[in-house]
């Protein structure tokens, strides 16, 4: 659900937002990639995961995950724990 709501994410971000070890987050993401639900790409040294639109039930899965995630206020508030919008370089957080 978190991947669907965020549209794309990486192990360290997911771990921080959901309060888990990075290794566990990475294992979970990799297992979904092996199942074909997620795909990944390298951005610099980070592996970014997102829903694989070629998955046979991609459209249904995306809709279901969005519906479930939209109703999960606790998850949304956890995802709010990290700023994603850009901030000008040099401006303190």
């Amino acid at each position: 659900m978190a991947v669907r709501l965020l549209e794309e994410t990486w192990g360290a971000e997911l771990a921080q937002l959901l309060g888990m070890r990075i290794s566990l987050a990475q294992r979970i993401l990799s297992s979904f990639e092996r199942e074909g639900a997620l795909l990944s790409r390298m951005v610099g040294r980070s592996r970014i995961f997102l829903l694989d639109s070629r998955y046979p039930a991609a459209k249904e899965l995306s809709a279901l995950l969005w519906k479930l995630g939209s109703a999960d206020v606790v998850l949304q508030q956890k995802l709010a724990g990290r700023r994603r919008r850009p901030r000008r370089a040099g401006k303190a957080l």
């Binding site: 709501l5 965020l6 549209e7 969005w66 939209s70 109703a71 206020v73 949304q76 508030q77 995802l79 709010a80 724990g81 990290r82 700023r83 994603r84 919008r85 850009p86 000008r88 040099g90 401006k91 303190a92």
Partner: protein
């Protein structure tokens, strides 16, 4: 007089009034506008002003208030709030904002995004950057300014930007 107990709104009124005195119209925007509308829910530490009308003398007025330029921001020795003047124009996404709210208090003036546009500005980070903190800030503004946020305008804008489902999620979270 700006001091350690000055709130963001106090500082905003002082700065806006000072600049207005030299014919500069500075509009409070960004997270600082959200804090002005929902101070209990969200605290920004810097004040973002977009100058919609510019004239000379602004820096001198800020110095009179005690602010000094430090890199790209202005700092005050008695306040933890900083001032930033991001490049304009005043806009949310690529939509220009030509009207804003003007508040007056004890002979001072504050130009600030309307509650609807402040909500929209925070929602923009949710729409474009999937930033859920932007969603929470938008919800805080909408809850604090309940009758002053135009939900139909927000919905139309989200639809235009291709994110009707994100407006639906936002609306479902409103108290």
């Amino acid at each position: 007089m700006i001091g350690p107990k000055s709130t963001l709104t106090d500082v905003a009124f002082a700065v806006c009034t000072a600049l207005q005195q030299v014919s500069i119209t500075a509009v409070l925007t960004g997270g600082s506008a959200a804090t002005h509308y929902a101070p209990d829910a969200y605290q920004s530490r810097d004040l973002d002003f977009v100058l919609t009308i510019q004239a000379p003398g602004g820096a001198a007025e800020l110095r009179k208030l005690g602010f000094t330029e430090s890199g790209q921001v202005y700092r005050h020795p008695e306040s933890h709030f900083t001032l930033d003047f991001p490049r304009g124009p005043l806009a949310v996404g690529d939509e220009l904002i030509t009207e804003w709210r003007t508040e007056r208090r004890a002979g001072r003036v504050l130009h600030v995004l309307s509650p609807t546009d402040s909500c929209r500005d925070r929602l923009a980070s949710f729409l474009f950057w999937k930033d859920f903190s932007g969603l929470e800030q938008a919800l805080a503004v909408a809850a604090a300014q309940r009758r002053k946020v135009d939900l139909e305008k927000l919905e139309a804008w989200c639809r235009k930007e291709g994110h009707p489902e994100k407006f639906k999620l936002f609306k479902s979270r409103l108290p």
